[in-house]
């Protein structure tokens, strides 16, 4: 393999990936003194510039594909490779675009934290891993980055490591992600056994992808490979039923949640599936579509009743990831990636706004000395007057989430729904349930988004800490406001198209469009956006009446309500049905180990000892007795033997008779 020539785009890619890594090393080496994060911010800025350069060079043009020899096993060489095609270039840019505002935001948000030097180090490590994941041209390398982002996420979730909930959450996140990692690893193993290479370009490239055939694989294993990769994506992208780690992961700093657990890392699963897309056959795609839909629907339901502002957003993230997965399942990975992009902006923004709110609530808490949960929306209300910019930006983000016209979300989500119906038309009848469920989930999205907005900003504050203490509330400081405004701009339509109502002109979709498309249903392209918008307006009105005007009609004690509040009791199920049996199994095995396996060994030892003491006894009584008798026999023979003589008649007699018996026996046997 010749050493690849270093072109400028290639260098830029390397710089984009490696700058955060350098920042990580520098920050880690500096230790406690690296408090202001200048190194990290500089690094991510350079990365952003480099990524923009790479994007300009790659988008719509030839991809960069290079590889260096890394190591060989046997005769098989493994490479470190880069593959920057449209999708990775987009991802590269997107990550940088989201990461920079978050970095800036963090300078204010994390100010004064005693462990802030760790924060910057971890954040840079994450950026490095995430950017590496985006450009990795080799599944093994991708896997490495994949685990590293998980590791960075582990570190950041548990950033406040003295909080019990945080460290429980990061452990849970890592272990559930490990399940996905196993899927990824097995997928790699299957592909490697089938095709003998892990290079993405060779496997799934445009020219003659290796996986156009099934290699050495049986169709069963081929499907299994697809499912294995999907398992990996399920854990990382928090798909039902492996989503339980993501709500808990909100224990990390909000800035981290916005970057990792909303915009980038959790979307990595979708990105992975888009990268290995040619691998999926019909079965796998169907499974993906259904899982995505279930996730989207279930998470939306769970989000309806949460009180923790971050949890609502977390479930919303899960729900949106479900939408993306469904998009992959429909075969429309370009739409999924588009939604990934728009979602990254608006969801990141939502978290940042939530962070600003929490920040203020924290101040109130400190000032008043009250003990209340600064993240609980029941303690908030009426913040619109005090935090107008936050209110405005968050509203924009929420509208994008709901899919209101003029936002990016409108374009991507409606495209997804349309494709869902188109896909259902190609499948058998029951498949129609999938896009319908998605549509319902989309309406639920509207409901919980408006509920959130209404409760936090518009409704009168309930009898809580905020009554009478308004004077202390004010908008977020400048370093937090600028990133919010920037992201708000990115959440609107102009970034993607000049035609705000039609997704047909989005440059992003054109750049990524797959070869095979679904037969278009023209009517849907008009009907669905209109219907969705109307539904959103209705929902907005209803929530306004319920929450702002205080005409809430439901009781919070219903079974469905509780089911939703407790997230379908899934977590409880895991805690009861999986963890304790596993711990019991391990305890039982340990018991077996100590008592049966080791007991056997100790038993052998005890047996040996018993045998030995028996032998010693026999030695003393029988053998030695014989010896003593023999000694008596040799009575007159010498001093040595004389000592063993008893001089007792009976002993001599015994000896005599014994010898006689022996003699008799000899005669008997000699005769026989």
């Amino acid at each position: 393999m010749p050493v690849p020539t270093l072109t400028y785009p290639l260098l830029a890619t390397l710089a984009a990936v490696l700058m955060p890594f350098l920042a990580f090393l520098l920050t880690a080496a500096t230790g406690k003194k690296a408090r202001n994060g200048a190194v990290s911010i500089a690094a991510i800025s350079i990365s952003l510039l480099a990524a923009a350069y790479v994007f300009a060079h790659v988008w719509g043009k030839d991809p960069i594909h290079v590889q260096w020899h890394w190591f060989s096993i046997g005769r098989q060489a493994f490479h470190v490779g880069l593959l920057v095609n449209n999708a990775s270039a987009l991802m590269l840019l997107l990550v940088c675009l989201v990461a920079l505002p978050v970095h800036v935001y963090s300078t204010a948000y994390m100010k004064g934290d005693p462990g802030i030097h760790r924060y910057w180090a971890y954040l840079s490590l994450f950026c490095f891993a995430m950017l590496g994941l985006a450009v990795a041209g080799n599944l093994l390398l991708m896997y490495i980055c994949w685990e590293l982002v998980g590791f960075a996420s582990y570190l950041l979730i548990g950033f406040w490591f003295t909080r019990d909930a945080a460290i429980q959450a990061n452990k849970k996140a890592f272990i559930i992600n490990r399940i996905g990692d196993l899927g990824f690893l097995l997928g790699i193993a299957i592909l490697y056994s089938g095709f003998g290479t892990l290079d993405i370009q060779v496997l799934f490239g445009t020219d003659t992808p290796a996986v156009s055939g099934t290699g050495n694989l049986t169709p069963g294993w081929f499907t299994a490979a697809g499912l294995a990769f999907f398992l990996g994506a399920m854990a990382k992208s928090a798909q039902f039923p492996l989503h339980v780690w993501l709500p808990d992961a909100m224990e990390g700093p909000t800035s981290v949640s916005s970057l990792i657990h909303a915009a980038t890392m959790v979307a990595a699963g979708v990105f992975l599936l888009a990268r290995v897309f040619p691998l999926f056959d019909g079965t796998v795609l169907f499974v993906i579509a259904v899982t995505g839909t279930v996730t989207a629907f279930a998470a939306a339901c769970f989000a309806l009743t949460q009180y923790d502002i971050k949890k609502i957003l977390a479930f919303s993230t899960i729900s949106q990831l479900g939408f993306m997965m469904a998009g992959i399942g429909f075969g429309m990975y370009h739409v999924a990636l588009f939604h990934l992009t728009t979602h990254a902006f608006f969801k990141c923004l939502l978290f940042l706004c939530a962070g600003a709110v929490i920040h203020e609530m924290q101040h109130v808490k400190q000032k008043l000395g009250h003990d209340f949960d600064p993240q609980d929306i029941r303690n908030m209300g009426g913040l619109r007057k005090h935090m107008p910019i936050t209110c405005a930006t968050m509203s924009i983000a929420a509208l994008a989430l709901v899919g209101f016209p003029l936002t990016g979300g409108y374009l991507s989500k409606d495209a997804l729904l349309v494709h869902g119906f188109e896909w259902a038309a190609t499948q058998h009848g029951m498949a129609l349930a999938v896009p319908c469920a998605l549509a319902v989930a989309s309406m639920l999205t509207g409901f919980y988004s408006f509920r959130l907005l209404a409760k936090v900003f518009f409704a009168q504050p309930a009898a809580g800490p905020l009554t009478g203490s308004h004077a202390t509330l004010h908008d977020a400081p400048l370093p937090m406001r600028i990133p919010m405004l920037f992201l708000a701009a990115c959440s609107l339509f102009p970034l993607f198209t000049f035609h705000p109502l039609n997704d047909g002109h989005v440059w992003l979709l054109r750049g990524l469009a797959p070869d095979a498309t679904l037969p278009p249903l023209r009517l849907l392209h008009f009907a669905i956006p209109i219907l969705a918008t109307i539904a959103s307006v209705i929902i907005a009105t209803v929530t306004w009446r319920w929450y702002v005007l205080g005409k809430y009609p439901l009781k919070p004690q219903g079974a469905l309500y509780r089911l939703s509040l407790h997230q379908g009791y899934l977590d409880a199920l895991y805690m009861r049905a999986i963890i304790p049996p596993l711990m019991r199994l391990s305890a039982v095995l340990f018991w077996l180990d100590r008592h049966v396996v080791d007991g056997f060994v100790n038993g052998l030892a005890a047996g040996g000892r018993a045998l030995a003491s028996a032998a010693a006894w026999a030695d003393y009584r029988v053998v030695d007795g014989l010896v003593r008798m023999t000694g008596k026999l040799a009575l007159g023979l010498g001093n040595a033997l004389r000592r063993s003589q008893t001089g007792r008649v009976q002993h001599y007699l015994a000896l005599a008779f014994f010898l006689m018996v022996v003699m008799l026996l000899y005669f008997i046997f000699a005769r026989a």
């Binding site: 190591f71 019990d164 056994s193 391990s586 340990f590 180990d593 080791d598 060994v601």
Partner: protein, 538 residues
């Protein structure tokens, strides 16, 4: 190429031991400095050998002398035994890509162990002399090419270990020492029978006499026709093919060392009772001797039997992986948990070796090296904690991260490296074992795919127990069983000496994880030769 380098490496510790015995016990500091100097000298020597080694493709598989470098071959014992022929025992040593990395690992771990022994107070002289004898035996085991020589070193290893555990160990040291001793002896006694059988089955084509030379034993051309272990004769013992029986006997002997489930119970006891440096040596080197023996001797001399039993070996590997991990999950003693995690991690070695694919086998060797560094680091870390408060119970600590930040960083790195975080060596080892085991199904059909899948569950479980420990002991608000006294004792974070010991271990694990070619370039030719050697028998 310098042929005396290897001999020098092996016998330097013996000279050091002799020197130490001349130094009076009162000269307390001197012994450890001699030991340290010896260790560093060995490290330099083995490093030089590692650097000078040139991987060459062997034409005749692993029986080819070309493969073994730094070889020296001197007649040692020649005895005319009348009708039994001439006894031919040679001092034959040499290294290939299988043993050289392990040799380097041993040299490094020995230095670490000497560093960890710095605070030993009980009869220092005897301690370091025993350590040096152990050192020599270990080096000898990895480089011996004569089976008799191998056996001598193998048995020689036991004695110092027995005393090191039995005298300098913890509360139940005698029990642990005797258990360890008997377990190993049980394996090696039967090994001796096989050695003798092999001796009478193999002749040296050059002299016509029976020989103990391993390389000659490997080649079926040297087998005496009709002898008990001849590859062609197909003799049977107790109704089992003799070669299979011999393979099983040898395998059990080495598997006890690895250790495999259910022959592992000496390991937790020995580790828990042994002093920290000996735990480091046990985990870092001794376990590898088992794996090395299986690859070099079991597979090398009995490739046919190895193929026959490969499925079972894989199964044992998988069982060890999962069983070790599950039992580790139930531990309260930190050292015992790490001991069981060793069982689990060494299971990967067996699984990879049993796959008989280059990927799996190279992964297995790599895993051995990686585990050598990491388990040494882990046991050293436990020792650091134990030195300070004389307690290892996981439940007695909480929030150590706030008390000892530097120590916690080391522990976290070691834990994550051990649970297979990419970027560290364990990941490469485990990933390729899994890949190797998986492709075995489609390439040579030895291991079914489910074994790879089951093995990968071990990776998941290892994350569970390591993270649980991390969470339980190190995170959260500080709360120690010993109260302020402990807090005061623990306030002394990792000292300069301890940092100096940890950094190379973690650094090497990281280096090998990032650039595995460092080890794999050396391993490759030997593994390829071995795999082809075994596959030739099919």
């Amino acid at each position: 190429m310098n042929t005396h380098l290897l001999t020098l490496l092996i016998f330097t510790p013996l000279a050091a031991a002799a020197l130490m015995s001349l130094v009076p016990s009162r000269g307390k500091g001197l012994h450890k400095y001699i030991a340290l100097a010896t260790g560093i000298l060995q490290l330099v020597l083995s490093g030089a050998m590692y650097y000078l080694y040139r991987p060459t493709e062997a034409e005749h598989g692993i029986a080819d002398e070309q493969l073994y470098q730094f070889a020296s071959h001197v007649p040692w014992i020649r005895l005319d035994m009348g009708s039994l022929g001439r006894l031919e025992i040679d001092y034959a040593v040499g290294v290939d890509g299988l043993s050289l990395p392990l040799l380097f690992l041993s040299a490094l771990v020995m230095v670490i162990a000497v560093g960890a022994s710095w605070k030993v107070a009980k009869s220092v002289k005897g301690y370091f002399i025993l350590l040096m004898i152990l050192n020599m035996a270990v080096m000898g085991v990895f480089s011996a090419l004569d089976f008799f020589l191998f056996y001598v070193f193998y048995e020689l290893m036991l004695l110092p270990l027995y005393f090191l555990i039995g005298i300098w160990g913890g509360a139940r040291r005698e029990y642990a020492a005797i258990k360890f001793f008997l377990y190993t002896l049980f394996g090696s006694v039967f090994m001796l029978l096989v050695i003798v059988g092999l001796y009478f089955s193999v002749t040296n084509p050059a002299t016509g006499a029976h020989t103990f030379n391993m390389l000659l034993m490997m080649d079926p051309a040297n087998h005496v026709p009709g002898s008990v272990f001849s590859a062609l004769a197909g003799q049977e013992l107790f109704g089992i093919p003799a070669r299979l029986l011999a393979f099983i006997v040898l395998f059990i002997a080495f598997a006890i060392k690895v250790p495999i489930v259910p022959l592992h119970t000496w390991l937790p006891d020995a580790h828990v009772e042994a002093p920290t440096p000996i735990s480091i040596i046990l985990a870092g080197i001794l376990l590898k001797i088992g794996g090395y023996g299986i690859l070099r001797i079991c597979f090398g001399i009995f490739p046919d039997a190895a193929l026959q039993s490969a499925w079972w070996l894989g199964l044992i590997g998988v069982v060890s992986i999962i069983y070790g991990a599950l039992v580790a999950l139930a531990q309260r003693d930190l050292k015992r948990m790490i001991a069981y995690s060793s069982v689990s991690h060494m299971g990967f070695v067996l699984l990879g070796a049993a796959s008989f694919t280059t990927e799996g086998m190279a992964g297995a060797v790599f895993q051995m090296i990686s585990h050598g560094f990491l388990s040494a680091a882990l046991f050293f870390l436990v020792g650091m904690l134990y030195d300070r408060v004389h307690d290892r119970n996981i439940y007695h600590f909480r929030g150590l991260a706030s008390v000892m930040p530097r120590f916690t960083v080391f522990v976290a790195i070691a834990f994550f490296a051990s649970l297979g975080l990419p970027g560290f060596s364990a990941f490469i080892g485990e990933a390729f074992v899994i890949i190797g085991a998986f492709i075995s199904g489609s390439t040579n059909g030895i291991l079914p795919e489910w074994m790879a899948i089951a093995g990968s569950i071990g990776i998941l479980l290892s994350a569970a127990y390591f993270l649980w420990t991390l969470q339980r002991m190190f995170f959260g608000l500080p709360r120690l069983k010993g109260g302020d006294a402990w807090a005061a004792a623990l306030r002394a974070d990792a000292s300069a000496r301890e940092t100096l010991i940890m950094v190379p271990l973690i650094g090497l694990a990281l280096l090998l994880g990032v650039y595995p070619a460092l080890a794999l370039d050396h391993i490759n030719t030997s593994v390829l030769a071995l795999v082809e050697w075994v596959n030739k028998v099919r």
